[in-house]
C-alpha cells in the first residue's frame, strides 16, 4: 500500500511539473505571437488613448514577468481569460467552454458506450472461433471501420443516409427536450440527429476495440492456467468468462484509458461535419474570429484533461497490477 501511495504521489508530482511547463509554453507562445488582443478588441482604427487605457485595464502594459505571474495566478483561480469575439465580448473563457463541453462529452460518452457494446462481443466471438468465417468476416468489417478515416466516413455517410436516402438528418444536434439531467435524448429530432454522428464516432472505436480485444483474448487463451482450468473439467463458459475474460481486463484498461483521454479530441472532426455545437465548433469559430484567448483556453483545458486521464489510467493500472509499482 505504501508502494501504491508513493507511486501515486510521484506520478502526481510529475503531472504537476508537466502541466506547469505546458502552461508556461502556452503563455509565452501566445505572448510572442504577432497578434495584439487590444487591437483585435478595438479594431484597426482605434485611437492611441483607448489602446493605452484598455492595456492598463487588462494589465498588458506591465512587464512580461508580471503578466506571467498574473496569468498563473488567474489560472489557479480557474480564470482562463476573457473572450475577445463580438458575440461573447468580455465573457470569461471558462464559462464559455463549460457551456460547449457537455455536448462533446455526451457525443463522446455515447460513442464510447456503443463502441464497447459492439466491439467487445465481436472481438470475443472472433477469438473464440479463431480463423472461422465469423472471425474473418467480423474482423474484416471491424478493421475496415478502424482504418477508414473519420473525415471520409462522415461525409460519405452524410451523403448516403442524409442527402440521398433521407433516412436521417444530414447534420445538427437538437439539444432540446433531453430528459434526465439532459442525458437521455427525446425520441424524435434529438435522437435522429444523434444517430449518425454517434454511430460514426463509435465505428472507428469499435473497430479498434474488436481488433485489440481479439488479440488480448487469444493471448490469454494460450496461457497454461486456461489449459489447467479446462483439464480439471470446468465448463467452457466458466473457463471463458471466469478465467479468460477476467484476465483481459487489465490490457483492456490500458487501451480504454487513452481512448477516454482523447475522447474529446477524437470528436473534433465529427462535430465539424455534423455542425454539433460542441468544443470543436467553439474552437473552429474562435479560429475564424481570431479569438485567441478562447483557443488558448480550449487548448489548456483539453491538454489538462488528456494528462489527467492518462495519470488516472496509470494509477488505476498500478492499483490492479502490482508489478507496475516496482
Amino acid at each position: 500500500m505504501i508502494n501504491l501511495l508513493s507511486f501515486t504521489v510521484k506520478r502526481l508530482l510529475a503531472t504537476v511539473v508537466v502541466v506547469y511547463i505546458i502552461v508556461t509554453v502556452v503563455f509565452f507562445m501566445a505572448h510572442a505571437s504577432p497578434y495584439n488582443p487590444i487591437k483585435i478588441l478595438l479594431g484597426q482604427h482605434a485611437n492611441q488613448q483607448n489602446v493605452a487605457a484598455l492595456s492598463r485595464k487588462y494589465g498588458l502594459n506591465q512587464p512580461v514577468g508580471t503578466q506571467y505571474v498574473n496569468y498563473i495566478g488567474g489560472l489557479l483561480h480557474g480564470n482562463l481569460g476573457y473572450a475577445e469575439e463580438q458575440s461573447y465580448l468580455g465573457d470569461p473563457v471558462s464559462s464559455i467552454i463549460s457551456t460547449y463541453l457537455p455536448v462533446t462529452m455526451k457525443l463522446g460518452g455515447y460513442a464510447l458506450l456503443l463502441s464497447l457494446i459492439v466491439g467487445l462481443p465481436v472481438g470475443l466471438v472472433s477469438a473464440l472461433y479463431q480463423n472461422s468465417v465469423v472471425d474473418h468476416g467480423g474482423q474484416s468489417i471491424m478493421i475496415l471501420l478502424y482504418v477508414i478515416p473519420t473525415f471520409v466516413l462522415a461525409p460519405i455517410s452524410q451523403l448516403i443516409f442524409g442527402a440521398v436516402l433521407h433516412w436521417l438528418p444530414v447534420s445538427g444536434w437538437g439539444d432540446s427536450g433531453w430528459s434526465l439531467f439532459g442525458l437521455i435524448p427525446n425520441p424524435g429530432q434529438s435522437l435522429q440527429e444523434m444517430i449518425l454522428p454517434v454511430t460514426i464516432y463509435a465505428a472507428g472505436l469499435a473497430g479498434f476495440f474488436a481488433k485489440s480485444f481479439r488479440s488480448f483474448m487469444l493471448e490469454v487463451l494460450r496461457q497454461d492456467y486456461i489449459r489447467t482450468a479446462r483439464a480439471k473439467g470446468l465448463k467452457s463458459r466458466v473457463v471463458i468468462y471466469g478465467h479468460a475474460v477476467r484476465n483481459t481486463l487489465l490490457p483492456l484498461a490500458s487501451i480504454v484509458g487513452p481512448v477516454v483521454a482523447y475522447l474529446i479530441l477524437g470528436a473534433f472532426i465529427i462535430e465539424l461535419f455534423f455542425s454539433i455545437p460542441g468544443i470543436a465548433y467553439l474552437a473552429a469559430t474562435s479560429i475564424i474570429n481570431s479569438d485567441y484567448s478562447v483557443i488558448e483556453g480550449i487548448t489548456l483545458v483539453l491538454v489538462l484533461f488528456v494528462i489527467f486521464v492518462n495519470m488516472l489510467t496509470d494509477v488505476f493500472y498500478a492499483l490492479v497490477d502490482p508489478r507496475v509499482r516496482l
Binding site: I21, I22, F151, V152
Partner: protein, 340 residues
C-alpha cells in the same frame, strides 16, 4: 520457405571464391577458369537483409499495388500543372455545383471551379507536409532516440524527460494552437507556401516522441550486443558505432514507423485543413474540399455537391490506406516471423 533460407545462407561461401578468383591480382596473373566463373557467375548477387526484404515486399501484392498508387498520386501532384484541365482557382459562375461532364471530369464546386483540377493541386499540401514532415520526424526522432539509448546515463535521462514532456502534449492541439497563433508568420517570407512550411515544421515538431522512445529501446538492446562491443574494443568512435553498426540494424523498423508517421501527419494535416488552418483559400486542399462539400449536403440535391464530397474523400482514403498497406508490407518484408 526452405529454399529462401538456403539462398540466404549459401552465397557468402560462394562469393568468397569469386573474390579470390576475380581479384585484380588473380586477373593480372592470367589465372582464370571459365568453368568456375560460369558456375559462380549466377549466384554472385550477394543476398543482404535489404535485398531479401525487397524480394519479400515484391511478392506482397497489396503493398506493391499501394506503392504504385502512391507513385501515381505523387506524379499527379508533382506534375499538376500538366495534369489539370482548367485553372483550379478560376470560378465559372455559369456552372455552379455542376455535374461531371466532358470538360469538368469531377464536376464543379459551389463557385464553379473544376473539382478535378482542384484535387490534383489539393494533393500537394497533404503530400508535402506528410512526406517532408515524416523525413524530419524520422531524422530528429532517430537522432535523439539513438543518442539517448546508446549513451545512457545523464544524457539518456535528460533526453527521455524532454521526450516525455513533448509526448504528454497532445500533438494535434499544439498544432492547432501554433498554426492559429502563427498561421501567417511565414507567408511574407515564402509567399503562399508559408502555411505549408509552418504545418510541416509543426507536425515534425510534435510527431517525434513516440519514434524516439521506440528507437531508444532498440538502441538500448543493440548496444549490449557483441558486435557493438567488438567495434568499441577495436577503437571505433561512438559516432562510427552508431552510424555503421546501430543504424543499419534498425533501418527496416524505421521504414515501418515512417509509413505510420506519414499516415498520422496526413491525417492531422487534413483535420487542420477542415478547421480552416490548412493552406489559405482559395488554394485547394483535400480536407477543406471534403468539408466544403459535406457542409452543403443539407442544402439540396446537386451533383456538384455530391462530387465535391465524394472525390476528395476517396482520394484521401486511398492515399491513407495505401501508405498503411506499404507500412504493413515493409513490416512483413523485414520481419517475416510477424506474419505467422
Amino acid at each position: 520457405m526452405a529454399t529462401t533460407e538456403d539462398q540466404r545462407l549459401s552465397p557468402p561461401s560462394v562469393t568468397g571464391g569469386t573474390a579470390e578468383l576475380g581479384s585484380p591480382a588473380a586477373a593480372a596473373e592470367g589465372i582464370s577458369s571459365p568453368i568456375l566463373d560460369a558456375e559462380i557467375g549466377a549466384p554472385t548477387r550477394v543476398s543482404s537483409p535489404l535485398r531479401d526484404a525487397w524480394r519479400r515486399f515484391r511478392h506482397n501484392w497489396a503493398a506493391m499495388i499501394s506503392l504504385g498508387v502512391i507513385l501515381i498520386i505523387v506524379i499527379m501532384a508533382v506534375f499538376a500543372p500538366f495534369m489539370h484541365t482548367s485553372n483550379p482557382l478560376n470560378p465559372n459562375y455559369l456552372y455552379l455545383n455542376g455535374a461531371p461532364n466532358g470538360s469538368n471530369w469531377f464536376g464543379t464546386d459551389g463557385l464553379g471551379r473544376d473539382i478535378y483540377s482542384r484535387i490534383v493541386y489539393g494533393l500537394r499540401p497533404p503530400l508535402l507536409v506528410g512526406l517532408i514532415g515524416t523525413a524530419i520526424t524520422v531524422i530528429v526522432g532517430t537522432g535523439i532516440g539513438i543518442t539517448a539509448g546508446y549513451f545512457g546515463g545523464v544524457i539518456d535521462n535528460l533526453l527521455s524527460r524532454f521526450t516525455d514532456l513533448i509526448f504528454a502534449f497532445p500533438a494535434f492541439l499544439l498544432a492547432i494552437l501554433v498554426v492559429s497563433l502563427y498561421g501567417s508568420v511565414l507567408d511574407p517570407v515564402f509567399g503562399g507556401a508559408g502555411r505549408v512550411i509552418l504545418l510541416t515544421i509543426v507536425f515534425a515538431g510534435v510527431s517525434w516522441p513516440p519514434l524516439t522512445r521506440f528507437v531508444r529501446s532498440l538502441a538500448l538492446g543493440l548496444r549490449e550486443q557483441q558486435f557493438v562491443e567488438a567495434a568499441r574494443t577495436s577503437g571505433s568512435s561512438s559516432f562510427k558505432i552508431i552510424w555503421r553498426h546501430l543504424l543499419p540494424n534498425i533501418y527496416g523498423l524505421l521504414l515501418v514507423q515512417a509509413s505510420l508517421i506519414t499516415v498520422g501527419i496526413i491525417y492531422n494535416e487534413t483535420t487542420l485543413s477542415i478547421f480552416g488552418l490548412g493552406v489559405a483559400p482559395p488554394n485547394p486542399d483535400l480536407g477543406q474540399m471534403v468539408y466544403d462539400g459535406a457542409s452543403q449536403l443539407g442544402t439540396g440535391v446537386q451533383a456538384g455537391i455530391f462530387a465535391e464530397t465524394i472525390f476528395p474523400a476517396v482520394f484521401l482514403a486511398v492515399m491513407l490506406l495505401a501508405f498503411s498497406f506499404i507500412g504493413d508490407g515493409v513490416r512483413d518484408a523485414f520481419d517475416p516471423r510477424m506474419n505467422s
